[in-house]
């Protein structure tokens, strides 16, 4: 259910006064076309008919050769030798490549921020997913047999299985600078003095888990090297960055690499790091003219791919007796796994979101990344802000309990209002956390609570979360989107964007904005996307940035093209272009309804007069890097999103099983370009957050993943998720396309804390470790039986491992 409650800029006509001349009427932006409508998906028909071609669907009748990757059997050690003799004897196996076979000029390195990750191991193995060899064969079967037959010799090193291992005095050094990847700090006010002066101080240690993206479309693709061009068809989240990274890794000039993104089945941050692209490319270079195919199994996908950071969060909060927050002191240790991936950015986002949407005048934060021999940890929907929301919302619940205060009123007292500052000191001109919370509560109260459960061991509870989230890369990181729109000779509107569609609705967002701006129906719109040979760089589909960045780029491009078209039409209709509009595939008078020209005619006239009928838009706003010492910035993120989720749960206190009975998600998205798509993101993201709250967990023991499969990596199913009620608020963002901000990550971020708080309300004990599996909930009620005692495990890191000041 969607209810849209637009608030914000008023659009009433002036009540009285002198008649205003039409030509000076303010330019009101009120979408009359597809923007704001739930248009059917542009790529919908092919998806419901099975015609959409995902990576593995490209093999049929195209693949000449098949490649597979041999991965390390050990989590930590040196690769001494690779013996491919037996593999090469297998009928159909053509070659086995190792690091020694990388082309001249190849760096053999990948990584989104640091190029620290070898494509093929040269010496050091840092996790049990490092690639040590690439097998190429005539058939897929032979490639798998070849993989089994490759023999590697290792010198094992002691495994750094978790952060405590990594921080120990005698820990093996995983990287040249040791096991601390780096960190981020916030220094605002005087936290120690503020805590000392507080009426109440509450501390807790939270532990969040390693999470897998578990997108259904397992990594797969094809590649070929022909006529000096390496073309790779494989799904990612950032085609142009994949192109740069592949070129660098293989030693190719960038113009010799083309990335074409096939239909993509989900990503959630899991395709931000390279997957199999470089391996496909290497095999293609070695077998010129042949089309190479490669796909992972589910196990390989889980073992190889980066994961969400598990965070250990030590959180101390101070408040006055009336509930006003005074200070927050936070130390975070983040399991970075084997390589940096996007870890440095995740740390920064965790720090900048560590006090969430609350007014806290004194804040000290230290976030440390700690290397281990687990999977590299990198981007996943929420990106550090997700784990911190578990902590700050958990602290609000604890503080309310300690003060004997209503947890809603405690939030209301401390939520920032428009004009307040967030953790980084950035002033938020439009903060709608309170509005989101109240809208979620209104929705909740619109239905009666069910009667109390009759069985005494069944306990019902409910609570909510309020979160905020800065969209875009932020922090001064280069962030831009480019789009091109054109009217084709056939009169169709073609939008070209480098952005990747993986289900979130990017194609419709871009297409609807362009169609709105140019007054054409969606039936005339085509979107070309994520092909470095045909589209311009639009940045990644991540960081909840595409609606704002690519939406703006498309709108800019479309408005440029619109001006071109109206300039053309001016001659045909004999009025100034500003007196014309584009609607319903026609050029019409804005004030004189008798002025009408079919768009086709205008376009034809334009072609005859040598107009390009094409325009490009670039959206490249400035953000300001957070200060190194203080973590403060006047504008770390281009804009902020607010949301509130409410969960009602039923807990079986004998078994610890939790059922979500009712769930409400409220998001202020600025403007829902496609409300159905926005609601879909809200519900899908909330479901992933519920999964994180209750059941999803990658279990690593001594560097070995115990559950690289869907039997034991538990995803939410139909039975686990009630029909989630969605409330969309639209408070116009002055900088967004048609006032839109975005939606992608906040639904996940808001969900986990809401579920945890609801559990606490049901059982009277606050959770501190995710996921709250039945065992963990049972252990909250029987703390003496806990497998891992809470207090004993979660001390601060040893002195030598902490960063100074």
């Amino acid at each position: 259910m969607i209810s849209s409650q637009p608030t914000g800029i008023q659009t009433d006509a002036p009540a009285a006064g002198p008649l205003v001349e039409p030509s000076t009427t303010p330019y009101l932006e009120r979408p009359h076309g597809p923007v704001g409508r739930s248009e059917r998906r542009i790529d919908g028909v092919e998806k419901v008919t099975g015609a959409a071609l995902y990576g593995a669907d490209l093999f049929f009748n195209r693949a000449d050769l098949f490649a597979t990757i041999v991965r390390s059997e050990i989590p930590h050690g040196h690769l001494l030798s690779v013996d491919s003799t037996a593999a090469l004897k297998i009928d159909g196996v053509l070659a086995v490549y190792t690091a020694k076979n990388m082309p001249p000029g190849a760096t053999n390195r990948q990584g989104l921020i640091h190029r620290d990750h070898p494509v093929l191991v040269e010496d050091k193995i840092l996790y049990r997913g490092d690639a040590i060899a690439l097998v190429v064969a005539r058939t897929e079967r032979a490639s798998r047999e070849g993989r089994r037959a490759v023999k590697a010799e290792y010198e094992k090193l002691p495994v750094v299985g978790d952060m405590d291992d990594a921080l120990a005095e005698d820990a093996p050094r995983l990287h040249p600078n040791g096991n601390i990847m780096g960190g981020k700090r916030i220094r605002k006010g005087d936290v120690d003095a503020a805590l000392a002066a507080s009426d109440v101080v509450v501390s807790e240690t939270f532990q969040t888990q390693t999470v897998d993206h578990a997108f259904l479309d397992i990594e797969a693709g094809i590649a070929y090297w022909r006529d000096g061009l390496l073309t790779i068809h494989a799904s990612g989240q950032w085609a142009h960055e994949e192109r740069r990274l592949v070129a660098l890794a293989l030693g190719l000039p960038i113009e010799s690499v083309r990335i074409i993104t096939p239909a993509t089945g989900g990503a959630f941050g899991g395709r931000e790091d390279l997957g199999l692209q470089v391996y496909l490319g290497l095999a293609a270079l070695k077998h010129p003219g042949k089309t190479i195919a490669m796909r992972y199994s589910r196990e390989e996908s889980m073992r190889a791919r980066h994961k969400r950071h598990a965070l250990r969060i030590h959180y101390t909060v101070g408040a006055k007796s009336d509930g006003t927050l005074t200070a927050a002191k936070i130390t975070v240790y983040s399991d970075e796994g084997a390589y940096a991936s996007t870890g440095p950015a995740v740390l920064r986002k965790a720090a900048s979101h560590s006090t969430g949407p609350y007014r806290v005048p004194n804040v000290y934060v230290d976030v440390y990344g700690v290397y281990t021999n687990n999977n590299p940890t990198g981007a996943m929907r929420g990106f550090g802000a997700c784990q911190m929301a578990i902590a700050y919302e958990g602290m609000m619940e604890r503080l309310a309990e300690r003060l004997g205060m209503d947890r809603i009123e405690l939030r209301r007292r401390n939520l920032i209002r428009s004009g307040d500052a967030v953790t980084t000191g950035q002033i938020i001109p439009l903060a709608t956390g309170v509005e989101c919370m109240d809208a979620a509560l209104r929705q909740f109260r619109s239905k009666p609570m069910p009667p109390a459960p009759s069985a005494p061991h069944m306990k019902r509870g409910w609570s909510l979360s309020v979160i905020c989230f800065g969209l875009g890369y932020g922090d001064g990181f280069p962030d831009a989107s480019r789009a091109t729109v054109r009217f084709t000779p056939a009169g169709r509107l073609e939008v070209a964007t480098g952005g990747v569609e993986y289900g979130q609705g990017l194609l419709n967002m871009a297409g609807q904005i362009a169609a709105e701006e140019l007054g054409v129906p969606m039936s005339l719109v085509d979107v070309v996307w994520a092909d470095t040979g045909r589209t311009q760089e639009s940045g990644s589909s991540s960081a909840t940035r595409q609606t704002y960045f690519t939406g703006n780029a498309v709108k800019i491009a479309a408005s440029e093209l619109r001006e071109q078209v109206l300039d053309i039409a001016s001659k045909l209709l004999h009025v100034h272009p500003h007196e014309l509009d584009m609607r319903d595939a026609r050029v019409v008078g804005r004030f004189d309804a008798s002025l009408v020209k079919p768009l086709d005619e205008v376009l034809q006239a334009g072609r005859e007069r040598g107009h390009s009928l094409e325009a490009t838009g670039i959206f490249k706003p400035r953000t300001v890097c957070e200060d190194y010492e203080t973590g403060q910035s006047p504008r770390s993120f281009i804009t902020y999103l607010f949301a509130s989720h409410l969960a009602q749960v039923l807990v079986d206190t004998e078994t610890g099983e939790v059922r979500i009975e009712r769930y409400i998600a409220c998001h202020d998205v600025g403007k829902a370009i496609n409300p159905q798509s926005v609601a879909g993101q809200m519900i899908g993201g909330a479901t992933q957050g519920i999964g994180m709250a209750l059941m999803e967990e990658v279990v690593n023991v001594d560097g070995v993943m115990r559950n690289p499969n869907f039997t034991d990596y538990i995803l939410p199913s139909f039975r686990d998720i009630p029909i989630i009620e969605t409330v969309i608020l639209e408070n116009d963002d002055p900088g967004g396309p048609f006032g839109a901000r975005g939606v992608g990550e906040p639904p996940l971020i808001a969900a986990t804390p809401a579920v945890l708080a609801a559990i606490a309300n049901a059982i009277g004990v606050q959770p501190h470790t995710t996921p709250c599996t039945p065992q963990r909930v049972w252990e909250l009620l029987h703390p003496e039986e806990a497998a891992v005692p809470h207090e004993a495990r979660f001390g601060l890191a040893p002195e030598h491992a902490r960063m100074g000041r």
Partner: protein, 268 residues
């Protein structure tokens, strides 16, 4: 080689002839998982999925007789509460349409829901050889070790015989509402003469009965005190381990919870 016998006699002959050289396949819900993981190779298969009548379920002499190929989907409709509910709580419809009772028994996983339900119902597993004939093994003797059974390599599980007149109950604890690998599951059965069976999955190398708990009910009846004592005894009868799914402590505690719930449901 791929054998696809059309009748029981042919299936038994092939099994006797090839024994362990040919992998027995029917629903494939265990075997093909292993194949897809590259854990096994299939080069010689005895496919039982087309043996006439092999998925039939009949009522005979106060027993339900499930042919070995009876699918979980069919079993779910039979009025033996624990067995039907165990069948329904396994996977989704696609798994239930293929998974068979013989497959469950052949795999003999300590987590096998169907095996637990059968164990609480004094079922008989009928193992047949082409010439030696049928051996009817009481279910309590069928599981001999971790994933080991009384089935010989040249025999097939041709049917399972379950008393139809027992009162049975089922409990399952999982991390999710559907498609669970159980954390702990349990089944209880009471015979018409009042004999009690309590069986559990995921708390020992095989599915297991809590015999001292059963003895307490046999001896002391169904009072709240006896049920509590039985729950405590059951917790000692099992041998759960710590693994990536759950801790031994939790599993043991859940055996107590499951036992109480089963006994309260079965209480006359």
């Amino acid at each position: 080689m791929f054998h696809q016998p059309r009748d029981r006699a042919e299936a038994l002959d092939l099994r006797a002839r090839w024994a362990g050289d040919a992998t027995v396949l029917n629903g494939g819900t265990d075997l093909l998982v292993a194949l897809n993981r590259d854990a096994i190779q299939l080069r010689h298969v005895l496919d039982l999925s087309r043996v006439a009548g092999f998925s039939d379920i009949n009522r005979e002499n106060g027993h339900w007789v499930f042919s070995g190929g009876a699918t979980l989907a069919k079993i779910a409709r039979i009025p033996v509460a624990a067995l039907a509910r165990a069948a329904m709580s396994t996977g989704g419809p696609a798994i239930r349409n293929r998974g068979t009772i013989a497959g469950n028994l052949g795999t003999a996983s300590p987590a096998g829901d169907g095996c637990v339900a059968l164990l609480a119902n004094d079922a008989f597993v009928e193992l047949t050889h082409a010439t030696r004939g049928v051996r009817s093994i009481p279910i309590a003797d069928y599981f001999t070790g971790f994933r080991k059974t009384a089935l010989l390599a040249d025999e097939l599980i041709t049917s399972v015989r379950v008393p139809a007149d027992w009162k049975t109950a089922w409990q399952k604890i999982g991390k999710r509402g559907s498609i669970n690998i159980s954390l702990v599951c349990g089944a209880g059965g009471v015979s018409p003469t009042g004999a009690v069976r309590l069986a559990y999955g995921c708390v020992a190398p095989t599915v297991i009965r809590a015999k001292s708990a059963e003895a307490i009910i046999d001896r002391d009846g169904w009072s709240d005190g006896a049920i509590e004592a039985a729950a405590q005894a059951a917790m000692k009868d099992v041998a759960p381990i710590d693994d990536h799914r759950a801790s031994a402590t939790y599993r043991r505690a859940m055996v107590g919870v499951v036992t109480r719930r089963l006994l309260k449901e079965l209480r006359p």
